[in-house]
Amino acid sequence: MSFMGINWFKYSSPQAFYPLVGSMIPWFAAAAIVLIGVGLYIGFFVAPTDFQQGEAYRIIFVHVPAAWMSMFLYVVMAAWAGLGLGLNARPSFMMAQAIAPTGAMFTFLALLTGAMWGKPTWGAWWVWDARLTSELILLFQYLGVMLLRASIDDLRRADRASAVFALVGVVNVPIIYFSVRWWNTLHQGASVSMTAAPTMAVTMLTAMLLMTLGFWMYSIAVTLARMRCVIVERERQPSWGKNSSMQEVAEARSCNGGV
């Protein structure tokens, strides 16, 4: 496959992917810092006070982006896992492996900030309502994927087992998303949706979307960085990190018998 004069398939091999990604991470990290910085500024200094919830609503600027990322990252992780199963491709499994901890962290943050928002507005830290419960199950799914991988010594079996687990769990994502519509929940409905105009002030929406984009850039940066860790850990050979040629790497790999 050649497009714009570049052989893109080259980057599906960890040897070529590793240095390319290394040079991309600082850009994503910088974008994340700028977007989150501007988002926080608008969220705290430009967006007005909510007429119903007072200042407590400002939790939305971390709660909603974290919750979106938790669901989105799960789908991305499962997609890589599925691609890995379909093509038997090592880098796809590595990508799924690199995404899981970040997804789990955002799920945890969505639950925690949700509790912080629930206490002043509902009077309870936690209720067993459909949205909250299904999001809690998502956290267990992330932990399950990670623990299943960690519990199997054979890397290829660990890859496949956790990929199947991740794929089956995708069914929970639409359940979380539509839970506020399918069941009577204490959790409020969507403020932003694909089909209707947002039911919030423009400045609030801007801040929330900027924070979401920032979290997105953060996730890309940190996932790619973890992907580099996974590559080095899994493909142990002396030549990583040096500016060695592809030829040298290939030789080193064949000497090791190819892991």
């Binding site: 970040t102 940190v222 080095v232 142990r236 050979q237």
Partner: protein
């Protein structure tokens, strides 16, 4: 801008505890994760260097 003073900003209309816990926890988690990944990479590269 709706904040008259720093105290007012920190109080968040009485919801300071909830708002700042949320933002603080998020900031801590994100920074901790970035640091953990960075340290993991350093350790992985160092462990690999011992191979040669």
């Amino acid at each position: 801008m709706q904040w008259g003073s720093l105290t007012e900003f920190l109080a968040m209309g009485g919801y300071g505890l909830y708002v700042w816990t949320s933002f603080g926890a998020t900031a801590l988690c994100l920074m901790w994760e970035a640091l953990a990944v960075w340290r993991r990479h350093t350790a992985a590269v160092a462990g690999n260097r011992d191979l040669s």
